[in-house]
Symmetry: C2
Subunit: 235 residues, 2 copies
């Protein structure tokens, strides 16, 4: 029974890691599609999201069966419940990559990103990829050190998000409102992508160490996403 | 044992309903704070979000104990797992109300909402309140008919969201980029608030009827939020 349980739990972990790989690929390709106004690439990201959704569904059924048939307690139970929450986070990361791809598709044949913002968006894409790849290792190896790095990587994302908003609020910003809307939404998608990775990291830290993250009252809690607004847009 | 289990489950339901009440009050007050540039009201919404977070934490611990100590199976297990997911949705609704309040606070003593958009924002706030109140009844009474109404109410929200974006993309829109950013984000907060209520509704429909909602492959899945972008902003 115990052996079977741990084999099943290994399958859950593998599926979670596979989800992070798909989310990483999706966000990386979405960023390229956005910057290069590549509508075929955008379509492929949009179409591929069903794979992440399907994996999530499979994972949730597996977790449900584990609860029903194996009736785990203590740490084992916590691992199953945490896995269900992580699958929800990663599935959402896939949605956010799809959202970025949709903005690319909407503005084709133009790029939604004006030339002077390309480097910031490129960097947000790179940080996103780094974060989700690290989230995969954190899940696979229960690597608490890598989990803590994700929080720092997400600080870099928040900083880029702030920079983006500074540009929108600056006097030199003279693009149409449509572009302002695009950049506002795209910026938020990257930022939320980072938040969900932090959420995954905190859940693993809690599983391994029992420690609540300093920033959250409870590891169960979603990442605060306290950046309703980067402060720099204050008048 | 069974009696104790169902008493505990009633406590879970009550806590979920209480969370919807708090989220409703938060979004209603956040809308007023935003429209009236009432910074004290905004602060009270921002401060009150900890209550929703605390209820969520309490609920999650209770659900975890139910799983560990009562080892429910079949429908009972599904109810506990679904409750954990609903608490996550409603907690997020509270965050979104707080985000709206933060935009109000950021622009004080001005209002973030230009006069010509007041009626749309007011209506989004009213739909949000109607939706979350209905979500409370749906949870309390397992009312499938009310759950289906939530999907329709959310269509009204999506329609308002589209109208908002039409205004931003119109030639007559001549506000600074900062205002465009504010309205883009606020619009998204209301729209996501509605999505989470739909997610709650679908989970209840699935619990009661075993039916998957037409729009989602799985009731486990979060609402698709396919509106990365209201289509009307297409050039």
């Amino acid at each position: 029974m115990r052996k079977a349980f741990h084999e099943e739990l290994d399958r859950v972990t593998e599926a979670l890691v596979e989800m992070t790989r798909l989310a990483s690929s999706a966000m990386s390709r979405a960023t390229t599609a956005l910057l290069d106004a590549d509508v075929q690439l955008a379509e492929s990201v949009i179409g591929a999201d069903v794979e992440i959704d399907a994996l999530r569904e499979e994972l949730d059924l597996l977790s449900f069966d584990l609860l029903a048939l194996q009736q785990p307690v203590a740490t084992d139970l916590r691992m199953v419940v945490t896995s269900m929450r992580m699958s929800s986070d990663i599935e959402r990361m896939g949605d956010l990559a799809r959202h970025v791809a949709k903005v690319a598709r909407l503005r084709y044949p133009s790029s939604a990103v004006p030339p002077e913002l390309r480097s910031i968006i490129l960097e947000m894409g790179q940080v996103a990829e780094r974060i989700v790849t690290k989230a995969g290792s954190v899940i696979a190896a229960r690597d608490v050190e890598a989990a803590r790095q994700i929080e720092r990587d997400d600080d870099a994302m928040d900083d880029l998000h702030r920079q983006l908003f500074e540009r929108l609020a600056s006097d030199s910003w003279d693009h149409p409102a449509e572009t302002t809307v695009d950049i506002t939404l795209v910026g938020r998608y990257y930022e939320r992508f980072g938040d969900h990775a932090v959420s995954v990291a905190r859940r693993v830290i809690f599983l391994v160490t029992g420690e609540q993250s300093a920033e959250s009252e409870s590891s169960h809690e979603d990442v605060e996403d306290d950046e309703a607004f980067p402060e720099t847009t204050t008048p």
